[in-house]
């Protein structure tokens, strides 16, 4: 899936500008990382890509394989293959993971998945992620630890089989082992689905070490100001966003 974000300007309901002429192209099979200081618009971008009603696109376009998706609702974008792993996944009491995921999977299939194959897929995914089987019967993220919630996002990703994955700070709240397990699962998924595109939003280079990374972008004040490879992530880790070198090293992004 090829994603083109062209000159996107986005405002909140009270008309505060968050993204300004933001442009980025992610070709099929590419993994891009987006880094930047707090409040620069990274999470806003992830929500705008999924069509959040919290924001208004006032300029620019988002194209998927050449077609604009701006008029599509959130569920239509999900059915197209978009998947957002939330920074803070919410909990919903009374709706079990099984019930929710089976319903979600069936929205993407012409023929409903049978209970037995679904349970088989779910059990395997839980095993891959080192999660307990009782997670199947628990309410969505109810009483889950921060790490369990993040793993649950990757569980959903594995079962829903998206073609464009956005990971919004997957590494926050995960211990080193859980982060490695989640990333190994994502990397395996990418091997099995080589045309899947990925956008990783993060503050730290560690998560990028586990993924087949193509580009790192540095974002500042609502737009990309520098693009490079993994060494850019290392430079940001070492020097921060406020150091003279970091500011002096800004290259305009075309």
């Amino acid at each position: 899936m090829k994603i083109e974000i062209n000159n996107l300007t986005v405002v909140t309901k009270d008309k505060k500008e968050i993204l300004k002429d933001f442009s980025l192209t992610i070709k099929a099979g590419e993994v891009h990382a987006l880094m930047g200081p707090n409040g620069t618009g990274k999470s806003t971008l992830s929500k705008v890509l999924l069509g959040s009603p919290e924001y208004e696109v006032v300029k620019g376009d988002i194209l998927v394989d050449g077609k604009s998706i701006l008029k599509l609702s959130t569920d239509e974008r999900a059915k197209l293959g978009f998947f957002l792993s939330f920074q803070s996944p919410i909990s919903i009491e009374g709706v079990t993971n099984t019930e929710f995921l089976k319903t979600a999977i069936n929205t993407r299939r012409e023929e409903a998945i049978g209970l037995f194959p679904f349970m088989q897929e779910m059990r395997q995914a839980l095993k891959d992620l080192h999660m307990d089987e009782d997670m199947m019967l628990r309410s969505i993220n109810q009483d889950f630890s921060g790490g369990e919630r993040k793993k649950n996002e990757i569980l959903q990703m594995k079962l829903l089989q998206p073609s464009f994955i956005i990971l919004d700070e997957l590494d926050s709240g995960l211990d080193v082992d859980s982060l490695r397990i989640c990333c190994e699962n994502i990397a395996t998924y990418l091997k099995e689905h080589p045309k899947t595109s990925v956008l990783v939003i993060t503050h730290y280079p560690r998560i990028l070490e586990y993924l087949p990374l193509n580009y790192v972008h540095r974002m500042q004040a609502g737009r990309i100001v520098e693009t490079g490879d993994f060494s850019l992530a290392q430079k940001i880790e070492k020097e921060g966003y406020l150091s003279e070198n970091a500011i002096g090293g800004v290259v305009s992004h075309e």
Partner: protein, 247 residues
């Protein structure tokens, strides 16, 4: 159809022939009662004897319920009620020491509905926990909820949790009253009137569920999330909920 199914302590079911629209019922060998009413005016009086555990599952549609529960010493009663546009007056009298009452009331209303609920703690160490969650599609709903502990009754727990999700345009009201005259009491109340969170809706839709399915899941979660329903209760409550939602 109005009916009552009685489940005894051996988990055997039987249908009882009682003039149940206006009647007194004392739990004896019965462990669980399942009652269903449609378009009826119902006047019921339940008594739970000392040291008895009992459950009442109630489904009411467009009915008018007037129900009293009387609990003896050391008895435990759990009520799970799902009501569609049903008004009424519910009273619970905790008459024996250490009596315990857990009340789950879930409702969907599409007309003006008024519900008065009162729990009277008449013995020390008695416990009441009331959860009343209502989804309003149309019309105005009023929940008037009293928890009453007189001066000479101590060491009680008296909690109430009242929530209305208002999907319509009329004003809804919750009147949460804790009338506590004793210092040695644990009493809490929560009252909320509002809409579903947009974050919840966005999360569910981001997984490919359309808006109607998301609302169904959120309503199901809001109404029955705390209820611990049995499979047959789930089937009845969920199918009735879906039917109302489709309309």
């Amino acid at each position: 159809m109005n009916k009552i199914i009685v489940t005894d302590s051996n988990e055997e079911n039987r249908i009882e022939k009682v003039p149940f629209l206006s009647s007194n019922y004392t739990f004896q060998d019965a462990k669980r009662l399942f009652l269903s009413f449609e378009k009826e005016k119902v006047n019921l009086d339940f008594s739970v004897p000392e040291e008895t555990d009992a459950e009442v599952i109630l489904f009411g549609e467009q009915s008018d319920l007037e129900i009293s529960y009387h609990l003896g010493k050391g008895s435990h009663l759990i009520v799970r009620c799902f009501a569609l546009s049903t008004k009424g007056t519910i009273a619970c009298y905790l008459e024996g020491e250490k009596a315990s009452f857990t009340y789950h009331y879930a409702a969907i209303n599409d007309c003006d509905v008024s519900l008065k609920t009162a729990v009277h703690h008449l013995a020390p160490h008695s416990i009441s926990n009331m959860y009343q969650h209502v989804v309003v599609l149309k019309g105005a709903t009023t929940l008037d909820v009293d928890g009453i502990v007189p001066k000479d009754i101590n060491a009680c727990v008296c909690n109430q949790d009242n929530k209305i999700i208002n999907l319509g345009t009329s004003d809804c009201t919750i009147l949460p009253n804790l009338r506590i005259d004793n210092y040695d009491v644990v009493a809490n109340h929560a009252a909320f009137i509002g809409k579903f969170s947009l974050d919840e809706l966005f999360y569910l839709m981001s997984r490919g569920l359309d808006q109607t399915t998301c609302y169904q899941l959120l309503i199901q979660s809001f109404l029955f999330g705390k209820m611990s329903l049995r499979e047959e209760e789930k089937q009845l409550f969920y199918s009735s909920m879906t039917k109302v939602m489709e309309v």
